[in-house]
């Protein structure tokens, strides 16, 4: 289990991390969310000692992370990068060996990854000769070549086409199912909501919300009401002017209500406007939860 415990880090006057804490268990796939500059990359880098926190600790299975333990981790930084002029296979073997694989083991793993990515015939090409999408695949393979027990990916979906996104999802799910602890950051909240059972939301260097997505949604103090009315008799915006309107579009309106708001008056108002086609009362989706906590 990965434990991020009370990390603090300042750069001059800028507070990057302000007591950031959360955990990721084996087999868990956790989405790590937060606005730009909230400290996601700094947190991820501190797992690999690329950043030395001013205080706090990162632990793996209860122990401070040793260089030996770190070899069993996989990391895909936000700024992608490999050696452009190095041959693809040689490159993967190199990263496998840096992670402690023996020569033959690393070679075997390289061949099987290239096969899986459909790049078996490009083993001897230089990386720079590959298309952008294929370079991204090699980058992922470089992070996975040694079958890490902890996988940390910074914005793995950015810059991927829909097919690339599908492939990435498949691989992340597979790693988590295989028992690895997987953490990734992303701004694509809809995708995270579909993919992860658990998320951690960070703002200004502090974890503001963490837990199973379903729980976080229902724990919200807000509910959302979607009403659809065929040919409303008055403008919907005017009819609900005293309510917190999220969106309005022709006969559809989305309202934000405090949890426990009585629904009857709303039902009556809606019925008075015309034929009600939809009247649904739901907890916020992940992006709404996100916005509620990061911009209170």
């Amino acid at each position: 289990m990965l434990q991020i415990d009370s990390l603090r880090k300042t750069y001059g006057d800028v507070i990057a991390l302000d007591g950031c804490s959360f955990t990721v268990g084996r087999g868990q796939l956790v989405g790590f969310l937060g606005p730009n500059g909230s400290g996601k990359t700094t947190t991820m880098r501190s797992v690999f000692s690329l950043v030395q926190p001013d205080s706090g600790e990162v632990r793996w299975d209860g122990m401070p992370i040793s260089p030996a333990a770190r070899l069993g981790f996989g990391y895909m930084p936000e700024q992608r990068g490999l050696y452009p002029r190095m041959k693809v296979a040689a490159q993967l073997v190199y990263f496998g060996r840096l992670h402690g694989l023996g020569k033959s083991e690393a070679t075997r793993a390289t061949l099987s990854w290239l096969e899986r990515l459909g790049l078996g015939d490009r083993a001897d090409s230089r990386l720079e000769e590959l298309s952008h999408g294929n370079q991204q695949r090699i980058q992922l393979a470089a992070a996975l070549i040694h079958e890490p027990e902890l996988l940390i990916l910074d914005e793995p979906f950015s810059g991927l086409d829909p097919i690339g996104v599908e492939a990435m999802i498949e691989i992340l799910l597979e790693r988590a199912a295989g028992g690895a602890a997987v953490v990734f950051s992303s701004h694509q909240l809809d995708l995270v909501e579909d993919l992860c059972e658990d998320v951690v939301i960070i703002a200004a260097g502090k974890v503001v919300l963490a837990g199973p997505v379903r729980e976080l949604r229902s724990r919200s103090h807000h509910r959302y009401l979607d009403i659809e009315i065929a040919q409303p008799s008055t403008d919907l915006r005017r009819a609900f002017v005293d309510r917190d309107i999220v969106t309005v579009d022709n006969g559809r309106i989305r309202l934000r209500l405090d949890d426990g708001t009585p629904l009857e008056p709303l039902v009556r108002t809606a019925a008075g406007l015309g034929r009600v086609q939809q009247f649904s009362f739901t907890p916020p989706n992940l992006s709404e939860v996100f916005r509620e906590v990061v911009e209170p």
């Binding site: 690329l50 770190r70 700024q79 490999l82 840096l98």
Partner: protein, 391 residues
């Protein structure tokens, strides 16, 4: 995986990637060709050893002119004469290059810009002496008396009977200094560029996820350093083989001792500067800034080289001080050792300082490297980079 195996992996990658590169193979091949060329070309030019001089003659010049000039020229040349009917024709031949000099019996020696000074001096002297002999004969002085008359009473005696062997040792040590200087300039800039490349490629963050910055730094310096030594050894072996095929190899007396010291200082000097270049490279993000970052180092290196080159003739106070300071010692101490000028304690102090400072530099550069590598954008200051990291 131990720290050492990580260093070995990094070193092996840098070594292999560079040795496989077309640019490296071409530059090595070219350097070998150049070295062989430098050794062989002078011999091709001198293959005859002697030149052919032709003296254009107008009118009746003293008999034996050509023979006497040739005797005077020794191994330098063979001499022939060519008779011309008039001075004008002879001068035209001189302009055409058919003859090298013209002697007119009327009493002039005619030369042009192409004429060899040695030939001119020789011809003038021979004509004068033939003239003296002729007039002496007319006065009734025989040849033997004439020889007596002209034979000198003074002999030249040299005080340095044996050439000073420390001179050739010093020259050898200075040669080693030149090689160190060139190595640092060449391979130091490879290290500099290699570090910046890893930074601009962003690959460094992936690598540093598994390898400590000081391991990456050490591996890089070792990989490129070993490649550099291999290249120099290859060139050296080719040079020695070619030279010994020509029997032109002149090994100084104390070469063994000087060679060992030169090697020790080469390794220390290279390590010192290579580590410093790597740290400098970690501070910038673009190749355009590479030379700026390395400027203080290059300046230091040039200063050391100049102190050494001004001191090739002998010991002096500047050289003495420089040979104790780590950034100068690798280029200056071998000279003093070769010249027999270095006192034992000076060598010891200089060596200890060098090792201690290089070790300190590895630690310091490791931190600067760690702090500088992950900061992109503007140039990072040494102090900021040092503070940014504790690794």
């Amino acid at each position: 995986m131990s720290g050492w195996s990580a260093i070995k992996l990094v070193a092996a990658r840098d070594f292999k990637e560079r040795i496989a590169s077309r640019a490296f193979q071409l530059s090595t091949g070219l350097t070998v060709l150049l070295v062989v060329g430098f050794i062989l070309v002078p011999t091709f030019i001198d293959t005859d050893g002697t030149q052919q001089w032709t003296i254009g003659v107008v009118g009746d010049v003293p008999a034996g002119l050509a023979e006497t000039v040739e005797a005077g020229a020794g191994d330098m040349a063979t001499v022939a004469t060519s008779q011309f009917g008039s001075r004008a024709v002879a001068e035209a031949a001189l302009e055409d290059g058919a003859v090298d000099i013209v002697v007119d019996a009327e009493g002039s020696i005619i030369v042009n810009a192409e004429s060899s000074d040695q030939l001119t001096t020789l011809v003038a002297a021979v004509l004068a002496s033939l003239d003296v002999a002729e007039q002496a004969a007319e006065l009734g002085i025989d040849a033997a008396a004439l020889t007596d008359l002209f034979s000198g009473t003074y002999d030249v005696e040299s005080l340095s009977v044996e050439p000073d062997s420390t001179d050739s040792d010093r020259a050898f040590a200075f040669f080693a200094t030149i090689i160190l200087f060139m190595s640092i300039i060449t391979y130091g800039s490879w290290i500099l560029i290699g570090v910046i490349e890893e930074k601009t490629n962003r690959v460094v963050e992936v690598v540093l996820g598994t390898v400590r910055p000081h391991q990456l730094l050490t591996g890089k310096v070792l990989g490129i350093g070993i490649l550099g030594v291999a290249q120099i050894v290859l060139i050296g072996v080719v040079a020695i083989v070619v030279l010994s095929l020509q029997d032109a190899l002149d090994v100084p007396d104390a070469a063994g001792k000087v060679l060992v010291w030169a090697f020790i200082w080469y390794v220390l000097g290279f390590a010192f500067y290579a580590v410093a270049y790597a740290a400098a490279g970690s501070l910038v993000s673009r190749q355009e800034e590479a030379q700026n970052a390395a400027f203080p180092l290059t300046l230091m290196l040039m200063a050391a080289y100049f102190v050494a080159s001004f001191s090739i003739t002998g010991d002096n106070p500047v050289l003495r001080i420089a040979s104790l300071l780590p950034m100068f010692a690798p280029m200056t101490m071998p000279l003093r050792i070769a010249g027999g000028d270095a006192l034992a304690w000076e060598v010891a102090v200089s060596l200890i300082l060098m090792v201690v400072v290089t070790y300190g530099l590895v630690r310091f550069a490791g931190r600067v490297y760690a702090g500088g590598l992950l900061q992109s954008g503007s140039r990072v200051k040494w102090r900021e980079a040092f503070r940014a990291s504790e690794a």
